[in-house]
């Protein structure tokens, strides 16, 4: 059955995929960061806080609003853009050069990075390859959109 996006189930499924790909993520190295994913739709947002530790995603929490003091950074954007990214990953097995996280967030016109502390912001780049590979795992999921 297809996983609905956005949903906790979707991120739980990515967490499972990440665990199954431990060899790859161990090779990429420690990933110690907590960040939020915010998916907007018609003025409302679904927000998920993802807590990574050592080589894996440890916790997923859906929260009503993102407290920027409790996360390193938040990736925010309209559901349309997230959907395009996820569908692109599914089509190519990984994000192509126009749909990777750094490209989509670059000018803040598609996805946007929001943060309180620049040190937290820099963690996006410190763990970039692991974060990209994490989202690329979506290629192994069947996802449906509202």
């Amino acid at each position: 059955m297809a996983l609905s996006f956005p949903s906790t189930d979707y991120f739980e499924a990515l967490k499972g995929q990440m665990k199954a790909a431990q060899e790859k993520f161990s090779r990429l190295g420690f990933i110690d960061t907590t960040f939020a994913v915010s998916v907007g739709n018609n003025g409302k947002a679904h927000n998920y806080v993802l807590e990574f530790e050592v080589y894996e995603l440890k916790n997923i929490d859906e929260v009503p609003t993102v407290d920027l003091k409790k996360v390193d950074f938040s990736i925010e954007g309209d559901e349309r853009v997230w959907r395009e990214m996820i569908e692109n990953i599914k089509r190519n097995g990984q994000a192509d050069t126009a749909h990777d996280i750094n490209t989509l967030t670059h000018f803040g016109e598609q996805l946007k990075i929001v943060y309180d502390d620049p040190d937290g912001h820099d963690k996006l780049y410190r763990f970039m390859e692991s974060i990209q590979e994490f989202f690329d795992l979506s290629s192994q999921l069947e996802v449906s959109f509202t």
């Binding site: 420690f30 040190d119 970039m128």
Partner: protein, 380 residues
């Protein structure tokens, strides 16, 4: 020979006789077995992570208890070992903890070790087979890679030359700095490889940027080196890597820039945590750091005049040399330059130097540049 042993052992008959006597009789001294050191048994706090430097932060072996001024150990004795009479003075230049320490130094090192990568095997070089970039963008990419190789060579030298100057009690800082030198050597390797795989060979060295890089190398203290290297230079380069990833023409370039940006962001993180630490624990250093930043920012600003780098960036950003491409490239490059400046002041403020904006001529340039860009409809 800059250093001679304090004794000529090869000509000392009693020393030679003792050596032969020990071989003949097997008689041992064993006094080292009574070293007056602390006995501990550290364990990993997290078995998945392994036994880390933080797990060794116990008693006389730990980093928490290292005093601000290390007076006892000027040799290569590992922190916590018994130091017998007769060890030489290794003459460390940096014996104040706040002059090199960063919050979480040990975890930056552990992260560096676990996130190493290999420029030979982790880049899908085979994907370049059959890729022919147009001459203008190919040459521009090679020029950018030539410049970045130059940058990374000095970025290798600079931390490495501080290694023997740091007190041995700062073993975690020394380890991090050694890991940084390795990171930068790998960056020089990957950029050289990419420059040559464009098929256009290397392009021109950059006199303006080499002046800036020499400034990094010749700082008077570790903290001055760190603010110029980790915060100003690597902060700028991190922004450049993010833009370069965004502009990358192939998945090979994307992967290169994603991997180098990870290392660069870690170095910036260490720099921020050191800057915070030194400002909190050695307040007298604040004015020295301001003065060093005055010059570092002056040189950083001058980098924009390095036409070989700026022009290649404009061509890459616009995707070619047609009028509309150059216009688009100038827009992106302006955004890039302003973003570099904005993030620089954001970091300094968060580290505890909010007054920098009031003093900095670069900040005035940022405000002027931002207003000019906005007048052209360019947002940052």
């Amino acid at each position: 020979m800059a250093y001679l042993a304090t004794h000529d052992y090869l000509e000392d008959k009693s020393f030679v006789d003792k050596w032969l006597y020990t071989m003949r009789t097997g008689e041992m001294d064993l006094s080292w077995m009574n070293a007056k050191t602390e006995k501990i048994k550290p364990r990993p706090q997290n078995a998945r992570r392994g036994l880390t430097y933080r797990d060794l932060d116990v008693g006389s072996y730990g980093f928490t208890e290292v005093p601000e001024k290390v007076r006892d150990n000027r040799s290569y004795a590992p922190r916590g070992a018994e130091i017998p009479a007769g060890v030489p003075d290794a003459q460390p230049w940096v014996s104040r903890k706040s002059e090199s320490w960063a919050f979480n130094t040990e975890s930056y090192y552990e992260e560096a070790v676990s996130r190493q990568w290999n420029a030979t095997t982790d880049i899908p070089w085979e994907h370049l087979e059959g890729v022919e970039l147009p001459e203008a963008t190919g040459k521009a990419l090679s020029q950018l890679m030539t410049f970045l190789t130059e940058v990374e060579m000095i970025a290798t030298d600079t931390p490495a030359m501080w290694l023997p100057r740091l007190s041995p009690d700062f073993i975690e800082v020394r380890a991090f700095i050694a890991s940084q030198a390795m990171d930068e050597a790998r960056h020089a390797e990957v950029f050289r490889k990419r420059a040559l795989t464009t098929g256009y060979g290397l392009m021109a060295a950059s006199p303006m940027n080499e002046m800036a890089l020499k400034h990094l190398r010749d700082a008077d203290s570790f903290s001055e080196m760190s603010v110029a290297l980790h915060l100003v230079a690597e902060g700028n380069v991190l922004t450049m890597f993010r833009f370069s990833e965004y502009l990358s023409p192939t998945d090979v370039d994307k992967r290169i820039f994603r991997l180098v940006m990870q290392d660069e962001a870690r170095h910036v993180g260490y720099g921020m945590q050191h800057f915070k630490y030194v400002l909190e624990n050695f307040p007298e250093k604040r004015e020295v750091l301001h003065a060093h930043l005055d010059e570092a920012e002056n040189i950083s600003f001058a980098g924009a005049a390095a036409t070989e780098v700026t022009e290649s960036f404009i061509i890459l950003a616009g995707g070619g040399m047609k009028k509309e491409q150059i216009d688009a490239g100038i827009k992106v490059t302006t955004q890039f330059n302003l973003k570099q400046m904005s993030e620089h002041f954001e970091r300094l403020e968060k580290c505890g130097m909010p007054e920098r904006k009031d003093r900095s001529k670069l900040y005035q340039m940022f405000l002027m540049g931002k207003a000019a860009a906005e007048a052209q409809g360019i947002k940052i």
